[in-house]
Symmetry: C2
Subunit: 489 residues, 2 copies
């Protein structure tokens, strides 16, 4: 067991080092360092992969004598990781890396010139490689299952499609109702918020929620993210807009939510493949919980608003709590996913989920993708993008080969409410605690029920054990109706 | 050759990644991340070492068909690296790592309480391990040769001792003369220099000397250093003192000098063991040249002083060029090496060099080290430390096991003048160029004669080829007499 752990430590250290290099690339690296950096990261990732699939690792797995439940889980999860890793030929991985390198460049060019045909042949190639990838991984029902499983272990296309379609039936008319009410004004969040004050206020609030800055820090980057270098060093980044309160503040809470998950993993799992979030959906449930269910709630702002007013006297001095609460919860259909509000966001995801399935199944030709995108936007959200840069070209994911990733964003939203409801059952005065600026009970509840398990339990298992049921759309829809129904009169 | 290069690339990438992790540790890492970080770095360094000494690397070296002079040098230098690496048993390396971990803690404690006996047993152990290390590496004349050779390949104790002792005979009386002249006043550099302005001014000047910020950047750290992540990403750090101009400004030039060396290495050497400075002494010659021979010269300040006055109107508004030039060139014996001026600095080094030899040869008992230190300080510099914290406990090097490292600082000083004189022969109007803020000719000269070779030539070879002679103390002494003789009337 010791020999196995030593080997897994090495693999973990290589991946952690790669994460540090990638973090530096997005935060501090001088432009000229990019080429060498991508070679360094590739070497670290390759070495980690080679060590994992090496016969010696399998031999150690065979002969290891587990001495605890954790040891048993380490062996079980590592075996599964190896099984998946060996199925995909390294030639395919290399081809995907090369193809996505080219596709990313083409995507940037296509976006800059609103020129989808520049990107189309690259996307065709990526889709083809993803199908090969799915075939290599194997699946029971359909190829998309294999792609989805990479990000959300155990979830199936059919299951997700069923939940999403149930949700959509309620959501599309609900969005129409909300947007016709005309009750909201987001003016207060579009005033002048000095950048240093935004930085400090966001980080103070993340800290008061439980993000541990002795084991984390925040830096700036073009696209906010969180990243873990070990359970004891989990960092976040943010971006600042001078005249828009939301991106930095809710971005910070969102990334801090991800980071608190990683900080809460059982230290006994450090150095093993178990010291990670169990799925992207579960990860997103944590970020969305702190961003939306806490950070966009009225009880939270009953606590935080006086401090926000003090921090931003020019912007918020003549705004009251209710106006502010309405401003941060305005529902307005927009074409851009990353700017979408809490309610319409899920529709952006479902659109991508459907198109991904159709691409993989060959039911839509790549050349027809812009039209398919725009038609669905019009039918579900009531708006049509003016161009492809604001439509089908807006996200980087497909150019990276990450097909099957998008649905996890909406799965996270749904799970966040299911989990929050369970927490509220266990801690009935949760909202009163928020009003007093107390978040430690919620955080310990999440640590016990979600975080500390790392990858020892799947997202599905956690959900079932904690909430008594699998993934459902009903709880999220009920939450949305209750919160936004009131807000929109 | 391709297969060999691929393997060397991997080794290089692992070491470069370790450098990124170490840089982060000194600049941005949250405190709580330290333990995991040291494990990550250890894994990367071990993997690099294992790949280097692995039989497969030797097999590739045997069968590689060099197609160029560079290929030939890659094979030659890699062979030599392996020969040295395999001589030292990994148990000894591990023991040194463990011992220096403990010694560093004891050193910090001893320093804090001026309690040398707390550190003494650890130092004894370190010295013992260094002797074992020297025996493993092998030497012709004496064990200290092997230690010195790790940092300054090809240099011998006897050769360095001869040059140092010649230098000391002139230097000790010269320092006495200078310090009795009482001609200098360093007041102007001890005024208030706003930190952001220091930052900008130092970096602007480093940039004008040729430090390429598209392939580098500066951050803050407690102890300034430069580090290379590839030829295309070479960074520096600095520290700022509000009421002292010198640490940040000359520290920035010093580190930028190191960094320009690494930025100037032939890109064809990237990914091989040749893409590094050829010795610590040669490295230090570059940092000292830009810090002292350029940065503390009168011609440089004829160019830079107006801009300094504009940047720091409060501190320098009523100071003239000559007063400022005298202030930055004040010679005052002090007990602390890192605060020493250009002239007395070498005596601090020689003291350490002698004591290191005596420790390794067993000619001084560790318990008598403080007395030996203080006596020599009194005899050479005319001052006696008040306590051991300002005496024998001031440097971290010995606790890290880095015996043989110190002499390279003074070697760098000597080489810097030998090289600068050669540059001046080739570019007679060098000082006039400085007066106009032109540094590109000096930099290209250094690139051609020193930098671009990387480790293809040893420091000794470069010195011989470029200056027509080996290491000598005369040129440095002549430089010091001419510069400081004038300054001190």
């Amino acid at each position: 067991m010791d020999a196995l752990r030593n080997r897994l430590n090495r693999i973990t250290h290589l991946n952690q080092a790669a994460a540090v290099l990638e973090w530096d690339q997005e935060t501090y690296m001088p432009e000229g360092g990019a080429e060498a950096r991508s070679l360094q990261v590739a070497t670290l990732r390759s070495l980690a992969h080679e060590l994992l699939v090496d016969d010696e690792t399998s031999r150690l797995l065979e002969s290891a004598q587990p001495e605890s439940d954790i040891d048993g889980d380490v062996i079980r999860v590592t075996r599964k990781d190896i099984e998946k890793a060996v199925r995909v030929p390294s030639s395919l991985i290399a081809e995907m890396a090369a193809a996505s390198g080219r596709a990313k460049g083409a995507w940037q060019k296509a976006r800059a010139n609103d020129d989808f045909p520049v990107f189309a042949p690259h996307l065709e190639h990526i889709v083809d490689l993803c199908i090969q990838h799915a075939e290599a991984l194997g699946y029971e029902d359909q190829p998309y299952d294999a792609l989805l499983d990479q990000y959300e272990e155990g979830a199936t296309t059919a299951q997700v499609a069923a939940v999403f379609s149930e949700l959509r039936e309620d959501l599309v008319p609900f969005v129409k109702e909300l947007t016709s009410s005309g009750m909201l004004c987001e003016g207060p969040v579009h005033r002048e918020f000095p950048e240093e004050d935004q930085w400090r206020f966001g980080l103070d609030m993340a800290k008061s929620m439980g993000y541990d800055l002795n084991h984390g820090r925040q830096d700036r980057s073009a696209h906010p993210f969180s990243t873990s270098f070990s359970i004891s060093d989990v960092r976040i980044t943010t971006r600042l807009e001078k005249r828009f309160f939301n991106p930095a503040f809710f971005g910070t809470l969102h990334e801090a939510g991800h980071a608190m998950y990683e900080q809460g993993i059982d230290p006994a799992l450090e150095g093993t493949p178990l010291a990670d979030g169990t799925s992207l959906g579960m990860h997103e449930s944590q970020s969305r919980m702190w961003e939306n269910l806490v950070g966009r709630s009225l009880p939270f702002w009953e606590y935080a608003f006086p401090s926000a007013q003090k921090t931003f006297p020019d912007a918020l001095g003549n705004v009251n709590l209710e106006q502010f609460y309405r401003a941060i919860n305005t529902v307005v259909p927009s074409t851009i996913r990353v700017e979408a509000d809490e309610v319409t966001y899920n529709l952006h995801i479902m659109l991508r989920f459907e198109l991904e399935q159709e691409m993989i199944a060959g039911r839509v030709a790549i050349k027809d993708l812009p039209e398919a995108w725009n038609d669905r936007m019009a039918s579900w959200l009531g708006i049509r993008p003016d161009n492809n840069t604001e439509g089908v070209l807006q996200d980087i994911h497909w150019s990276l080969g990450a097909i099957g990733y998008f649905p996890t964003y909406a799965l996270g939203n749904l799970m966040s409410v299911q989990l929050f409801n369970a927490a509220q059952t266990d801690i009935p005065d949760l909202h009163d605690q928020f009003r007093r600026g107390e978040f430690s009970h919620l955080l310990s509840w999440l640590r016990t029920n979600v975080h500390h398990w790392g990858r020892r339990k799947t997202a599905g298992d956690i959900l079932q054990e904690v909430t008594g049921s699998g993934l459902k759309s009903g709880p999220w829809m009920a939450y949305a109706r209750s919160k936004f129904g009131v807000l929109h009169g």
